[in-house]
């Protein structure tokens, strides 16, 4: 049986999370097909055909799929999914939105946010905010799965030469419509795919003070994140939140500034390769997971670090 991976894309390029999902799918084993559903998504489909290990790309190009509305896309994926042993998507907000509908339409369970593949029917996934790891066996004929991107390496973007096949099926449920979006514009890398992340917490004091983190981030080619405390205090928008209820990141280097280290924040970043914590409170729990701890006033230490890099 073959595996269907749902590509995350913006019609012109593939999103990085797709490549992590492809790696997870390849660990399950079997022929890999990628579905690119969108509107005017030919360029994304071409990129998908280059991904190493993919043998076929299915392209559903229609206005009904323009904004990945779950009501429409789930019907398409469920229809196609009947012919596969596994239907896999990245655990992004799009994947989380669409895949449970797919599972329900197929009358099967969904395994959310898997972090390891043990066999073609057994997977690991974090529960209780990452405080426990469950090993779960699927008893269903079709396994519907979302993949935590940080747990799998990205597949090579090139080297593949998949065939491209158009899918004619159009599912327009007609019960939902896209109204608009506000996408944060930034020249910095995306939080979930950045090699370096600089995050600020309540210790930053206010939103303006994040400027010193942004300056440091620009020098390191880093993304800027925040703790839930900083988001709740209104310093920065929620899409910057790193943690169980925000984004899960695992960069090469994570620099936590003025973050105390609540369990829910640690759940979002503790798989980072190297963790640096800067906090003036030497009892802060963040120091228990940091590789390098600096007890210092962040308003002195961060500019100094910036200057010395």
């Amino acid at each position: 049986m073959a595996i269907l991976v749902i590509a995350e894309h913006d019609n012109s390029t593939l999103k990085g999370a797709t490549l992590n999902a492809v790696t997870a799918a390849s660990q399950v084993g079997g022929e890999l097909h990628l579905l690119v559903a969108g509107e005017g998504c030919g360029a994304a489909a071409e990129a998908a055909a280059q991904v190493a290990g993919v043998s076929k790309v299915l392209v559903a190009d229609n206005a009904a799929y323009a904004h990945q509305l779950a009501e429409n896309l789930s019907k398409l994926v469920a229809e196609l999914g009947k012919d596969y042993s596994h239907v896999i998507a990245p655990a992004t907000t799009t994947g989380k939105n669409v895949m449970p509908r797919v599972a329900a339409l197929l009358d099967v369970a969904q395994l959310s946010d898997i972090t390891a593949v043990e066999s073609d029917n057994t997977f690991q996934r974090p529960i209780y905010a990452g405080n426990a790891i469950a090993t779960v066996e699927s008893l269903d004929p079709i396994k519907v799965i979302t993949v935590r991107g940080t747990a799998f390496d990205a597949a090579a973007e090139t080297g593949g030469s998949a065939s491209v096949e158009a899918v004619a099926a159009v599912h327009d449920a007609g019960i939902s419509a896209f109204v608009g979006e506000e996408v944060a514009q930034s020249d910095r890398p995306e939080l979930t795919s950045a090699k370096v992340v600089v995050s600020g917490g309540r210790g930053m004091g206010n939103g303006e003070n994040f400027a010193i983190l942004e300056k440091l981030a620009d020098k390191l080619g880093a993304a800027v994140g925040a703790s839930r405390a900083a988001v709740d205090a209104g310093f920065v928008p929620n899409d910057m939140q790193v943690g169980q209820t925000g984004k899960i990141v695992a960069p090469e280097l994570y620099i936590a500034v003025g973050i105390s280290g609540a369990i829910q924040h640690l759940a979002g970043m503790k798989d980072s390769k190297v963790i640096v914590a800067i906090n003036k409170d030497e009892e802060a729990p963040i120091f228990q997971v940091a590789d390098y701890s600096l007890v210092a006033d962040l308003f002195e230490a961060v500019p100094e670090l910036d200057a010395k890099l």
Binding site: R101, A103, Q110, L139
Partner: protein
């Protein structure tokens, strides 16, 4: 219009979770339980819609053993009008929960169904979407703003990289994210009043739903522990370690 809110009894947000020594599950014996935080936001949103005159009745439903009546009473104290408990000793999987809720929706015919986006125990983030598929209803997941306008509801959603707004035909499903609202505290008089509000008990059999296992939990283990590293005494030492020891910059 009527709003139906589904709530779940889970381990209290502040309790440190421990895995049982035989690795069969987490240890919930004698642990403080509470209303799932995202469900609390769902109740608050429904109550605010009622206070604004948009919603006329808020019905809250929970699935679980008798103890979950405690969380239904909490929701009633926050302002919901009546409760429904679906009694089961085994906690059903998300698909089973969605099938039970679908039957309740067919009976109650709410215009809005509001759920938390996920429960903080299983972290599945599935039930609202599955319910939507079973009922062929539209969904606004991870909501940070909900506005009912005529026969539609506009939902602003927290998505990767920003916000997205969708317009959904009613009846519709909303799942809540953290920024939707800040739930109130129940006042003592309201806690007393909640004890007298109606609470129906049904079983899955009453609803004609047969629960089925789609997965088997083989093992629950603690995550790999991360060891604390070293204290550096200055920014110079930090830069040196990052360059020469960790080699990450």
């Amino acid at each position: 219009m009527k709003a139906l809110v589904a709530v779940k009894r889970v381990i209290d947000y502040n309790v440190k979770v421990r895995v049982k020594s035989d690795n069969t599950d987490v240890d919930l014996a004698n642990v403080k339980m509470a209303l799932n935080p995202f469900c609390e936001i769902a109740v608050e949103e429904a109550v605010r819609l009622k206070e604004a005159g948009t919603v006329s009745e808020v019905v809250v439903v929970s699935i679980g053993p008798k103890a979950c009546q405690e969380q239904i009473r909490t929701a009633l104290a926050l302002g919901a009008d009546r409760g429904i408990q679906i009694e089961t000793d085994e906690m059903p999987e998300s698909l089973g929960v969605a099938k039970l809720l679908a039957k309740v929706v067919e009976e109650e015919k709410p215009e809005l169904v509001i759920l938390g986006k996920q429960s903080i125990d299983s972290d599945n983030n599935q039930t609202g979407q599955m319910l939507g598929a079973l009922l062929d209803m539209p969904q606004g997941t991870f909501a940070s703003e909900v506005k009912v306008e005529g026969d539609k509801v506009n939902v602003t959603r927290e998505v990767d990289g920003g916000l997205q707004t969708v317009a959904l035909n009613l009846p519709a499903i909303v799942t809540t994210d953290l920024r939707l609202n800040e739930p109130r505290y129940a006042s003592l008089p309201n806690i007393m009043k909640a004890k007298k509000k109606p609470l129906d008990v049904k079983t899955p059999a009453d609803l004609g739903v047969e629960l089925k296992a789609h997965t088997r939990l083989l093992k629950v283990a603690p995550p790999a522990e991360r060891q604390a590293g070293i204290r550096v005494s200055s920014v110079d030492e930090l830069v040196d370690k990052l360059k020469n020891e960790a080699k990450v910059i």
